[in-house]
Symmetry: D3
Subunit: 144 residues, 6 copies
């Protein structure tokens, strides 16, 4: 039984169930343990730590992923940031500010990613992904 | 007369006067205009925008500079983050979280930088740099 | 009224109107101010400075974007480099040289981008984008 | 006559003929000399050196390309690693380990690339690319 | 009691006790939990996995740290690679090969780091760090 | 006898003898072949190609090394750029422009490097390194 895994999944349910299930599913047939580490270490160990609120954690992550140009993960965390209470405007400001530290191309590519996320969310309605969190997560994705 | 420059300097006085004056002084004999752009664009245009509070801006910057490994600038902004109200613990959490996105070496090198900043501040007392902001900034550093 | 914006747009008209209008249009509904900063700071402040000719500026930019792997922006600036007088051969040489500094993958990915630009330009004829510069730019894109 | 080129092509035939011919063909009309340097320097000079076995060389390359996010080249070298005797499991382990050094996004993007390579190879059967090496390589691709 | 931590420390004792104790000690007064995650996740979870031998793991790590320019960590892992059975020549070959993927500067800076490690080891004699592993590690460094 | 090596050394004598000899000497006891590849491939193959003048090549290199943060190599190539006819002002402009593409920290760190080079050259007089090129280079550094 994996307490860290459960703690990670619970934290993820607060952030964005849809995104993480996509990632875990895609890892299932190539590196299922890696999906488990992602849940356990990133979300069970780090994101559950006290000392920094969840919204600030997502702001830090959106900033870093913009600077690093990790666009698929940036899109997942823009969803996540919105779920934990960031306004679109705040995300736009974080990305814009990255032009100062990582250059204009990094910011421009992140804006393209953000537009896709905003459009996807507008299309499916403004219903939060967290509403789905009523369905227990541990059924569909479980560690090996 | 440069309104953007003045607005930038005023914003910088809220963040950390000592750090920016060091940078502007070091640029004076090689690229003084670049110091001006830094004040005008980064601090006059971006950091004065509404839509994201100053503390969140510094969290985003500490995250990005950790991920990019830009250590001299990271040290300046750890000072800045503390000046605008971040606790040391929050900075430690942001750096730690970057291990997930940019790898453990990026976080380890940032912790080395943070230790130096914390030690420097403990040595000179916990007096905030902003106390010095009573002395007008525009006297010592001015655009050409 | 924004002198820096106008100066930036004028400079951009010398480089490549089509590319920048695409970028500004794509930013309009997410971060229009960022489009303005791009014109004002990058093109109004930096690209209009004396001390380095425009062709050398584009060579520096093609080199950096190749090294950084910023492919959408690289494509825009290969267009730009050709518009300000670089020959295709010069662009190929800059990209090739980057294998020494950023590795062969960076150069290979940049060659893929360059091939797309060269093909696009051959298809639409060798007419320079600057010919379109007769139509005033300020009508379609203007700062808020 | 180019001994380094021939030595490079021979080494490449041991690794993966299909991948390198794709690359050389794509360079033919834009930078054929660059294809020659790639064969001569990377494969004729470096990959033929004693002191490190070919399998370890491919492990090093898969690690670096994962860390750098150079996905098209990573895919080519996952093919190559499998051709020189790496098991899929070993490639998965190398990618997973990169999460520690370059962050989880770098590893996740590399897993997406690895899945595509594994699927492509399963579809065309498990026949090694090296079987094709019976057909002399020097006919189709030759240095200028 | 932390089994992952103990497993990680045991693995580290096979690699290089001296290096990791330096890192854990430096983290003690700023982020002791981060030292624990490093031992638990990197060495307890990842480096103890079957499917890739320890020597290949160190080759992958030396390659990645060279490509990323993470020099303090590269030096620690050159020590580690030598401890788990890599010859100096193999490390030199890995670094050299990185010129192809990350450029000559990355390889040159890594050679500077490797020279320092080789010199340090020659000065203190060729005695392996692992000899010290007889002294139990858990006394001096323990998780909170 | 190595024609590519000789061609490379001759090209290097036009750029900056002092810098390259430092690099070759530092490689002698760890990876002498790597020094040879650097001369043969980077300077014998690439820098001797027609299609781009030497001054533009150095501008491209200064841009890329600024963007990549490869400071030791940047310093060597600022020397080189000055030797082949770039004015200090042009180098300052290239570095400044990189703030747009790689962020302000990259430019700031490059300015620190440039200041050191300018100071070193002022101290030893403005005598060009190329004057030393009268002393044949092949005596002190030769391929194995």
């Amino acid at each position: 039984m994996s307490t860290r895994y459960e703690r990670g999944l619970a934290r993820l349910a607060e952030i964005d169930r849809i995104q993480i299930e996509r990632i875990l599913t895609s890892l299932e047939d190539i590196a299922p343990d890696f999906g488990r580490y992602l849940v356990e270490f990133a979300f069970g160990d780090i994101y559950t730590r006290p000392g920094l609120d969840l919204k600030s954690r997502e702001i830090a992550t959106v900033a870093a992923l913009t600077a690093l140009g990790a666009l698929p993960q940036l899109k997942a965390h823009i969803h996540g940031a919105l779920e934990v209470g960031c306004r679109r405007e705040e995300i736009v400001e974080v990305i814009m500010q990255m032009a100062v530290y990582a250059g204009f191309p990094a910011a421009l590519n992140a804006f393209t990613a953000a537009k896709e996320v905003f459009a996807e969310r507008s299309k499916r309605g403004t219903v939060s992904c967290r509403l789905n969190a009523a369905i227990p997560a541990s059924d569909s994705v479980s560690p090996t």
